[in-house]
């Protein structure tokens, strides 16, 4: 390829006498804000954080604020909104958005998109339902594993096509969206021709993922175990950093975080453990299984992205693929693995959806579902351009979407308004993101 090499006239460089000022000469960041002494106090941390927020690094603050505003609006309109029953209902409804958002984040972080996740996840869920149904009657564990593996294989295959053959992800996964929808209809109609395109969830365990509740004691014990693990992990991490002579937040700040999370956890379990039965005399209480499942998934995937080489490389590829390649990162492998994980997570999301509705159907709108996954990630603060995002964004964004859905359902607004208002919230999230980051170098 002589064209790319020196002696051709193809290489055009700016004349050296012109001083190029493509990059801001001065750092846009006031370095003082970022430098904290190793023994910085609680107050110094809070001040630095407030300054960061004012500078535009607001993190998840806008979406949390937005969520609170939405909740207040719905509560004013319908006092039932903040009832125990409705709040637990909302948690159950948000699970599928949250998990699908997490699936999409793996791919969004690469700066790519997977439009097929709704249907590829649905195919995995259908495989699970079929295996758990007569005549096969596979145990629920094996059925779920097979379902997850099916969607993993789909993600792997599409990832291979995209990465090895250098095909655009948008087109490959758009093809996937169509193909797997067709495949889903074919497989369900083949399996149960007389059931009108649906397969009932035959396993009580799978049905209970969303509809079952932990016993009251189990809810509290699980919370206690989770909080102790969180506290121990936070404190040991700080201690290790301080032992190495590095900046670590003061113990008071770490404890404040642990206390805040504890309060949130206690409130959550308290609400779930109250009797939320709609009829007098009936008793429905306990934390739905899906709540700890989703939290565990958020923690696991957050850990994967933040603490492993794979996670670091996903961010690196999303930030600058060429730099990642030159650093010796196997970009193909990381990308394919990200698509595979997105597939597995999408299957989990659709399994949760099917568990909630009690069956697998050909009616599922996987095209719209996947876009809700993207919306959840973006509302939470994940960038479509790659390299920026966290799993917690899917959690927050999924809650926002579910809250809108739920609240508008309570207000008896029809789907036309639901769609339009969800769209406006999505737009608002992107605008808040763009405005708050204006002036920052990272885009």
């Amino acid at each position: 390829m002589a064209a790319t090499n020196e002696p051709t006239i193809g290489e055009v460089k700016a004349p050296p006498e012109i001083e190029q000022e493509t990059r801001a000469d001065e750092a846009p960041v006031d370095p003082e804000l970022l430098a904290l002494p190793p023994d910085a106090s609680f107050n110094e941390y809070i001040t630095a954080w407030l300054k960061r927020v004012r500078r535009g690094e607001s993190g998840v603050l806008p979406v949390v604020g937005g969520l609170i505003v939405i909740v207040i609006i719905f509560q004013i309109e319908r006092s039932r909104f903040l009832s125990d029953l409705n709040l637990v209902n909302l948690l159950q409804q948000s699970a599928e958005f949250i998990v699908l958002g997490m699936a999409e984040i793996f791919v969004l972080l690469l700066g790519e998109i997977d439009l097929s996740l709704g249907y590829s996840g649905a195919v995995g869920a259908a495989v699970m339902a079929i295996l758990a149904y007569p005549p096969i009657n596979l145990s629920w564990e094996l059925a779920i594993i097979a379902g997850l593996a099916t969607s993993a294989a789909i993600g792997f295959a599409q990832g291979q096509l995209i990465s090895r053959m250098r095909l655009p992800p948008f087109v490959v996964t758009l093809g996937g969206l169509l193909f797997w929808e067709g495949f889903l209809i074919w497989v369900i109609n083949n399996q149960s021709p007389s059931n009108g395109g649906s397969i009932r969830i035959n396993s009580a365990t799978i049905y209970n993922i969303v509809n079952g509740n932990l016993s009251l004691a189990a809810g509290w014990i699980l919370l206690a175990v989770g909080l102790v693990l969180f506290a121990v992990a936070s404190v040991t991490r700080d201690r290790r950093r301080r032992a190495g002579g590095l900046v670590a937040p003061p113990l008071s700040l770490t404890l404040a975080k642990v206390v805040a999370v504890s309060i949130a956890g206690v409130v959550l379990v308290w609400i779930c453990n109250a009797n939320r039965a709609a009829f007098v005399g009936a008793s429905v209480k306990g934390v739905p299984w899906v709540v700890p499942i989703v939290i565990a998934l958020v923690v696991a995937w957050t850990f994967l992205l933040a603490r492993t080489r794979f996670g670091r490389y996903v961010y690196a590829i999303g930030g600058n693929r060429e730099a990642a390649r030159r650093a010796g990162i196997n970009v193909h492998r990381v990308r394919v693995f990200a698509y595979t994980l997105a597939g597995v997570t999408a299957a989990a999301a659709i399994i949760i959806l099917d568990s909630r509705t009690g069956g697998v159907t050909t009616d599922i709108d996987g095209g719209q579902t996947v876009l809700y996954g993207v919306a959840a990630a973006v509302i939470g603060g994940t960038s479509l351009l790659g390299g920026r995002g966290k799993m917690i964004h899917a959690l927050l964004g999924g809650l926002v979407i579910a809250t809108i859905y739920n609240g508008m359902g309570l207000l008896s607004l029809s789907t036309d308004f639901q769609y339009m208002i969800t769209a406006l919230v999505l737009l608002a999230a992107v605008i808040v993101d763009a405005v708050s980051r204006r002036g920052q170098a990272v885009t």
């Binding site: 002589a2 290489e11 990059r23 000469d25 960041v29 930030g319 060429e322 730099a323 990642a324």
Partner: protein, 297 residues
Amino acid sequence: MTADSTAAASQPQEGNVSRSASAGRETNPGKDGQADGAPASDILLSLHGISKHFGPVIALDGVDLDVPSGRITALIGDNGAGKSTLIKVIAGIHEPDRGEIYWNGKRVDIRTPHHATELGVATVYQDLALCDNLDIVANMFLGLEQRRHGLLDETPMELKAKETLASLSVTSVRSIRQPVGSLSGGQRQSVAVARAVMGDAKLVIMDEPTAALGVSQTAMVLELIQRLAASGIAVIVISHNLIDVFSVADRMAILYLGRLVSAGPASDYDRQSAVEIMTTGGLSERENGAHGAEAAV
């Protein structure tokens, strides 16, 4: 020792060739190496007759170049002169068609970038190859992450990054946990250099390090380059900016249409003569006499 004998053996012959070819317009790099006051044993990298063709295009034509440790060698030339190809040969991206490469006097073949890295060649490309979304530590260790029980081990990485930046006297960066995208151009250059030298580099090649930088940032990067050389590292700087080149370079190597037409101590050149050699491949008769006399000393 092998280096000395090889260099000595090849020197007169090549000197003769070049002298007869261009009537004394070229300066023998080997001779200048000694005129510079650098003993031959300090020559880290020695290129002999490096040629590289891309199809019919001759990118490099018999380039001889000595690169001493602890010195800054400026590689200059007009667009298309072969600068990029030459550094790619040293960095293992291109394999030369002909010629020999000596590293610390030992004959080596640099076939892959990995090979070059193993020898201690680190290249900082013009686009720096940094991930703006990752912090300084993550960028410096990208692809080289330290792990404990299979998980990223941030503490030692952060300490090593801190130490490396401190050894380069990069003090303007206040937190090494800030994303690289929030840094100024000069600070980014510093991070790229720190990443390059962290793996015990002996030769650092910098491609247009001051392009796209403002005045104060340029000064900061030039200082950094000087500190690198002062720590005993051999530095090759490619630049279009002759002001910058003359302010830091110990030695000049001028390429013209794939040939190394002139090399020697920077004090033998001024901007006018350098530009003339870059654009015409030599000096006009009058200046050539003076230049030749200087070089011979």
